[in-house]
């Protein structure tokens, strides 16, 4: 019976994929890669393009990040994948970062599991681990918790959370920085870790000038 592989390809550099991901991609008959836009580029596919064999079928499907048609589009991608699996072809689905951290792969996996196909997920380097390495900043140490949150959920940060990762800060930079300064956190902004244009910025005004879609903030307090 054919199998779906869900592969985390890490934050952006081909050097940060795992040996397991490399092996699965090199042996793939069919690769399905997500793109946020209809007929758009797939960042996940770009990361691994040098490892894809010439005779591998490549299918880029739209996976919107939220929005009204998200569910329909994921179902469409599922139907495409299911058709290949039904023909006995293994399918490799690529996701940026790790497949189980803020990814739409989970919805796709649910459909595939319901049909009884075998699945295997390969973990990937998360954007926050990549950003910490680039910045040389700890994410969490000792007996403390780590809270990872979207910038729209500052309400979930409590007094006893000393280590934060704030994701998706785009267009919300000033609110996040004001919140962190008010609560006594030190912070570092990491832009496009392991991609072209990567940068680590600590200065408030520089951060506000450097608005970028692929960015996050690592914050600590004592």
């Amino acid at each position: 019976m054919a199998k779906l592989y869900g592969i985390g390809v890490g934050p952006g550099s081909e050097e940060l994929i795992t040996l397991k991901a490399l092996k699965v991609i090199e042996n793939a008959k069919v690769i399905v890669a997500p793109s946020p836009k209809e007929n758009g580029q797939s960042a996940a596919l770009n990361i691994v393009k040098n490892f894809v064999k010439e005779d591998t079928e490549i299918i880029v499907k739209q996976f919107p990040m939220g929005g009204e048609d998200q569910e329909d589009k994921i179902y469409e991608a599922f139907k495409t994948i299911e058709a290949r699996l039904h023909d006995g072809l293994d399918v490799v689905f690529l996701t940026i970062g790790d497949p189980f951290v803020y990814s739409t792969y989970i919805y796709l996996l649910k459909y595939i599991n319901e049909k009884g196909y075998e699945t295997e997920t390969v973990p990937g380097i998360t954007s926050f681990c990549a950003s910490a390495s680039l910045a040389g900043e700890a994410l969490v140490i000792g007996d403390e918790p780590l809270l990872v949150l979207p910038s729209t959920r500052l309400d979930t940060v409590k007094e006893d959370h000393k280590y934060l990762v704030i994701m998706k800060v785009y267009n919300n930079e000033e609110t996040v920085i004001n919140f962190l300064e008010d609560k006594g956190y030190e912070y570092v902004y990491v832009k496009r870790a392991y991609r072209e244009g990567q940068e680590v910025i600590k200065d408030r005004e520089e951060i506000l000038k450097n608005k970028d879609y692929m960015s996050l903030i690592i914050a600590h307090k004592n």
Copy 2:
């Protein structure tokens, strides 16, 4: 000037190291690997042993997980590393999982930075991403936060935290499970992900029988 590489080698399988980690390890003149015990085995070294070249110097240093002599031992390891760097030799330091998630690498890095040596950190697959992949369970989706915590810090879990990873559950299994059941979480226990003896367990009684040092719990509530 010589350089320290801090390399995350992932949860336990050599297939889950990155291409970058492979390259650095294959080219290493000196590898320093941590062991929890004096003259003990290094799990991090075991993961990559098939990739280490014959003429690479291998040094296993004790890095206790907490305890009174932790600071002294880390300083000792730093002195060993500094001596090699001073001789112009690059040093590769290995850490299980990711170097910036619950790792003593951060203390070592501080000493090295103070001496002005160049450093480069390579992120690794975390135990919780590996466990999620093995279990086929999402860590976090949508606009929710993810709270990662040691089992001794259940006090940091608040009403609005729907997605949890509870680390270091060893010897604290019953307290954790009672807490999760009381608060309405579903949970899965993942033992030794990507190591010999790996297992995914959902049954309460089975979990309590399966106490294991290398284990964590992934929990969700609606």
